[in-house]
């Protein structure tokens, strides 16, 4: 229709499109585009280029940019074109500008004026074009330039203009809420616009507003309901119907808005569009109308309707189940109504067909999903598992997650999975050993992706474990077991145990070239703290290893810093113990290297180490008490012990210290940027970075700590180290240094082993240290009772998975689901049965719904699509495929070969039927086939392609049509239903 008639596309343009369409490879496409760029550069710089040509050039520029090449040389021409008087040129210009530029581009300033002028135009299409541009190009600074006009246009007589003006305001609101805060009432006004389009558009900004503050807009609920009623009663123009469904998009939006009043609407919004279309019959409109009307009345009415739906639902079809499921979700989010809950439970059992085996099948289906090649399914399944994790199945699930995490390369999702593993492990870890093991795994495979806090958490846990040993003398035996356990695990890779196995894994881990930095930090820290604690390993052995670590990572200052600090700890423990310290030559050279390091942090640490080495045992013991990471340390923040020194210096004529904030032109060492404010706020050396945040500390300290995200506290001033050499200050710094590592964690809300957000496990609710131990032990005990089974099962199932026998899966399922329910009964206070079931149903749903989704596209579409995939072999020229789009019922061309054979008449693959074939079949009056030929195929190209395709006999005809089509313009217009099927089916 609209595309008929000459649109003056030149042969050049047609050729370009054709060659791009025919390009077989990216390289070829790039060549074409590069050539095109040259052509365009020449043409655009020619001052005699006629206007109508200009539009085409700009569109060609769009192609250049769309295909991934820089078209900036032509931006200015696009800008110029927006000034044109011709509407089409103007709009094309605006389009190009919006596609080329962002709102902060320099050229924008040249357009603002044009936009201002166009907003005042008499031609509403010009105004619309300008408003489109406003939505894309106006930034915060230029809003005032157009705001008055936009507001004026809200009352424009053309609804299209009003609609776009509303959206422009919406955009302003998104960019700079303050700029339009006084205009928000306009949205309310526009909601009552006579035109449904304007009203519908207004829902967008209102949705944003309501999301932020629902209370202010409660009064609009009535309007929403009215609109819904109108929609439901089909009082909107027919054009808004979509597949016989009245204005579904508006409904969905309203649902979302209305939902502030009534949560259920959301669920219905989800049900709304797809299910309506598929199921057709269900009269959700009424529900939706009721939903919005709010509160009790609506709820009551909703109850009956939901009940009705659930009763009537056809649970034999996927769609019926889907609706049923939505209803259940609906009910569960409503205010509880016993009758309805009962009905929901019924529905669920219906859903599961009451038979437990079926439910089991669903469970198995979940397991299947885990192994499904479809990544989306997998992810959804993991989301499901994540949500249903409990202490009883956490091991299996986290195991699976880690496995999956290792297997994927998408770092975005890897990060997510890793953080979920950590979260789950923190909340549900059955034992310390397991937790540490898991953390180690996560670190090993995604160490650089997890939050640094996690590493600190782990260190804190280890340290606390030791701290607890001191605090609870009566449980020494057990805790030393814990200690060993932790040790063993933590050092599994570090050769802490003599068994060759341990050494091997140690070698393996250390031998891996790319250990994540965070993991290495943990390793260094543990080695430093506890490496020599039980005497199994000599100091020189551990220090040698630490040196290796530091040397293996010359670029990673943080790791090196950890290594040096660990060295310092080990040496001071040795000194304190009265042993002579024998510094390995490699250590010596490492220290020397660091003394000259560019990193002041490393330098300081090295100097500290040197200083400590020269001290006697007594002092050192004070500086570095063994296993003191959990001790509280008092810190003299004002450094009053230096007052005398300062006074003396001042008396001797020294310059008074000027805080950094008051100095100007100080160049900052980039590494320490994050500490700048820090420094300036304290007006002193940054000692507090090392300090222990205690509740008693002045309130300004915790934020400081929280704000610094760096792992290692970094003192800035180089003379710090000198000062530190005085024995008095050193203990603060170094001691706190080790404790700070864990202290930083204080921002982390969740404590390991204690689900902070769920009160499910009573034993884990306490925060007291001693109680903690007890609870841990009880936990472990209970785990001891119930766990081995589950664990065995999971291990077994894992082992046997290779065999892929369903019993194995069943076991896995049991460990996921069955075990879950068991422990739920045991550990948690009377879980609502409904929850569990809904959980299951959810699992089942994931299974059920997924197929629904995939099979959803109506068959007619896929019918076309599928064959084309299979037959559209890569061997076939892409342009011929294009032609295929216009394809004819006639297939059976010799060229298309096998593909054609399988394709039926309506099949796409017959697309490959070349044009010559198509031409004859269509007859002269079929413009489409002509179009194909005509579409930019020069006679010669046609010929060549024909030759390629060995369609000799039809060539002549094809050429004839080609000529004809070219006269008509290049649009394929055909009444042929098969052509119609091409895109739409």
């Amino acid at each position: 229709m609209g595309s008929q008639g000459g649109f003056g596309q030149s042969k050049e343009f047609l050729d370009l499109i054709k060659s791009i369409g025919e390009a077989r490879s990216k390289a070829e496409e790039d060549r074409i585009v590069l050539r095109e760029i040259e052509v365009l550069k020449a043409r655009l710089s020619d001052p005699n280029t006629p206007k109508f040509k200009l539009k085409e050039y700009i569109i060609r520029l769009l192609y250049v940019e769309m295909l991934g090449h820089d078209a900036s040389f032509g931006y200015i021409h696009a800008v110029k074109m927006t000034h044109d008087d011709n509407l089409l040129l103007k709009r094309t210009g605006y389009l190009a500008v919006t596609l080329f530029l962002n709102e902060d581009h320099d050229l924008i300033i040249l357009i603002v004026n044009t936009i201002q002028k166009d907003l005042k135009s008499d031609n509403f299409l010009v105004v619309c074009a300008a408003l489109n541009a406003v939505c894309r190009l106006i930034n915060e600074e230029t809003i005032p330039a157009v705001l008055p006009q936009v507001v004026e246009l809200l009352g424009h007589q053309k609804e299209a203009v009003r609609k776009k003006a509303v959206m422009a305001l919406h955009r302003f609101y998104q960019r700079a809420p303050g700029s339009v805060s006084h205009l928000i009432s306009n949205f309310r006004k526009r909601l009552c616009d006579n035109d449904p389009g304007v009203m519908g558009a207004t829902l967008c900004p209102l949705f944003d507003l309501i999301t932020i503050d629902a209370d202010k807009y409660k009064d609009l609920v009535v309007s929403f309901v009215n609109i819904l009623k109108q929609v439901a009663e089909r009082r909107l123009p027919k054009s808004y119907d979509y597949h016989q469904m009245p204005a579904p998009f508006i409904q969905a939006r309203i649902c979302m808005n209305g939902l502030e009043e009534n949560l259920t609407a959301l669920q219905n919004a989800y049900m709304d569009i797809p299910f309506f279309k598929e199921a057709g019959k269900i009269k959700l409109l009424k529900i939706l109308a009721l939903l919005g009307s709010g509160d009790k009345k609506a709820s009551e009415q909703m109850y009956t309707i939901l009940g009705d739906i659930m009763r009537k639902c056809d649970s034999t079809s996927n769609i019926g189940n889907a609706i049923l499921y939505e209803c259940v979700r609906c009910v569960s989010s409503l205010h509880p109504n016993p009758k309805l809950l009962e009905a929901a439970a019924d529905a669920i059992s219906k859903f599961l067909k009451i038979s437990p085996e079926i439910a089991e099948q669903h469970q198995l289906a979940v397991i299947d999903c885990l192994e499904d090649p479809d990544d989306t399914l997998k992810r959804k399944t993991f989301e499901l598992l994540y949500k249903m994790t409990k202490s009883s199945n956490v091991e299996v699930i986290v195991d699976r997650m880690i496995e999956y995490m290792i297997s994927i390369s998408d770092s975005h999702y890897k990060t997510e999975i890793a953080s979920r593993c950590v979260e789950l492990a923190e909340q549900f870890a059955p034992s310390n050993q397991w937790f540490i093991q898991t953390m180690n795994k996560v670190f090993e495979h995604a160490g650089d992706l997890v939050n640094a806090k996690v590493a600190h958490n782990l260190m804190r846990l280890i340290a606390e474990g030791f701290g607890e040993d001191d605090n609870t003398a009566d449980s020494q035996l057990r805790s030393s077991a814990t200690l060993k356990e932790k040790f063993a695990v933590q050092h599994a890779g570090l050769g802490h145990e003599k068994s060759s196995e341990r050494v091997e894994s140690y070698l393996r881990i250390m031998g891996e070239p790319k250990l994540p930095s965070a993991f290495l930090q943990v390793i260094c820290w543990v080695l430093g703290e506890y490496g020599t604690a039980d005497g199994k390993y000599s100091a020189s052995y551990i220090t040698g290893k630490l040196c290796d670590v530091a040397e293996a990572h010359p670029e990673d200052d943080t790791v090196k810093a950890y290594a040096v600090t660990a060295l310092m700890k080990i040496y001071s423990f040795e000194i304190a113990a009265g042993r002579t310290v024998d510094i390995l030559s490699e250590c010596q050279s490492l220290i020397e290297e660091m003394l000259a390091s560019h990193s002041t942090d490393l330098q300081q640490r090295a100097y500290e180490l040197q200083a400590i080495l020269n001290l006697d045992a007594q002092v050192v013991e004070k500086i570095m008490p063994v296993d003191s990471t959990c001790d509280d340390i008092e810190i003299d923040k004002s450094l009053s012990f230096l007052d005398g020194y300062v006074r003396q210096s001042l008396e001797n004529g020294a310059q008074p210290y000027i805080p950094e904030s008051e100095r100007s032109g100080m160049s900052n060492i980039s590494d320490f940027k994050s500490h700048e404010d820090h420094e300036s706020s304290t007006h002193a050396l940054r000692f507090e970075a090392y300090e222990l945040p205690k509740p008693s500390l002045p309130p300004n300290v915790p934020p400081v700590l929280a704000s610094s995200t760096e792992l290692v506290p970094v003192p800035e001033l180089s003379y710090v180290s000198d000062i530190l050499q005085s024995a008095t200050s050193a203990p603060h710094a170094s001691d706190a240094g080790s404790s700070a590592l864990k202290l930083r964690l204080d921002g982390v809300q969740k404590k390991w082993g204690r689900p902070t957000y769920s009160s499910s496990t009573p034993s884990t609710s306490s925060t007291d240290n001693i109680v903690k131990i007890q609870s841990e032990t009880t936990q472990r005990d209970s785990v001891g009772n119930s766990d081995p089974k589950t664990r065995d099962v999971s291990y077994n199932s894992k082992k046997q998975q290779a065999v892929e026998i369903s019993p194995e899966k069943q076991k896995l399922a049991a460990s996921l689901f069955g075990g879950a329910s068991k422990s739920e009964g045991r550990h948690q206070k009377t879980p609502k049965p409904q929850n569990h079931t809904s959980d299951k149903s959810r699992a089942a749903k994931a299974v059920d719904i997924a197929p629904v989704k995939t099979s959803q596209p109506p068959p007619d579409l896929l019918d076309l699509g599928e064959p084309s995939i299979t037959t559209g072999g890569p061997t076939i020229d892409p342009f011929k495929q294009l032609e295929g789009l216009l394809e004819l019922t006639q297939d059976a061309t010799p060229v298309s070969g096998g593909g054609v054979g399988t394709a039926d008449a309506s099949d796409f693959s017959s697309l490959f039927a070349n044009m010559s074939v198509s031409v004859p079949s269509y007859g002269v009056d079929n413009p489409v086939s002509d179009v194909i030929n005509g579409n930019g195929l020069g006679g010669s190209t046609v010929e060549s392609s024909v030759q390629q395709m060995s369609k000799g006999p039809n060539l002549k005809e094809a050429l004839e049509k080609d000529a004809l089509v070219r006269q008509m313009g290049v649009t394929p217009l055909s009444q042929n239903p098969n052509l119609f099927k091409d895109l739409l089916g």
């Binding site: 959206m167 090649p373 769920s758």
Partner: protein, 180 residues
């Protein structure tokens, strides 16, 4: 609805139309398109029409040789809304717990997430609209009338929101321009 981009890509992975509702520079666009297209084209018909990629959820649908891909907000927005809820002191988590860490997302947050199925239908509407305009639309139509395809999209989506779903309303300005 939070639409972030609309892409049309053919089976060979060649971009036929690209519209972004947030600014990405050329490099970012190229990388994003490459990754997403590779991901989506590798999937078979039996697989789900929704794919997560980076911070997007991509809803795609295939028509003949042409893939229509629409990127919508995914977690990013979710976490932003989480933040919002935290600021507003809205409950995000189901504190009662009910036995497992059922992290009930507050409905308000969930509402902010786009309905993928609606996006799927939006794609269909777009194709139907183009079909009405071009008559039996095919890939070539879009190639030869790139600007018109863009105009239609401009009418349908503004600020990443679906603002117009009436085919006649969408096409009216385009037809008026044709006449002019």
């Amino acid at each position: 609805m939070g639409i972030r981009f609309v892409l049309m890509v053919n089976k060979q992975g060649q971009t036929r139309l690209a519209q972004y509702y947030e600014y990405l520079n050329l490099e970012e666009r190229r990388a994003l398109e490459g990754e997403i297209v590779r991901k989506c084209l590798a999937r078979n018909e039996q697989q789900c029409s929704f794919v997560e990629h980076r911070n997007y959820k991509v809803v795609y649908r295939r028509y003949a040789s042409l893939f229509f891909l629409v990127g919508v907000d995914n977690e990013e927005k979710l976490s932003a809304l989480h933040q919002l809820c935290n600021n507003l002191d809205l409950p995000i988590y189901n504190k009662s717990g009910e036995g497992f860490n059922h992290q009930l997302i507050h409905p308000k947050v969930e509402a902010g997430l786009p309905n993928e199925l609606a996006i799927l239908e939006f794609i269909h509407l777009l194709v139907e609209t183009m079909d009405r305009h071009f008559g039996n639309v095919c890939e070539l139509d879009i190639m030869f009338h790139l600007e018109k395809a863009h105009f239609m999209l401009e009418e349908m989506v503004m600020n990443g929101c679906i603002v117009e779903t009436s085919k006649s309303n969408i096409l009216a300005p385009i037809q008026l321009m044709d006449k002019a």
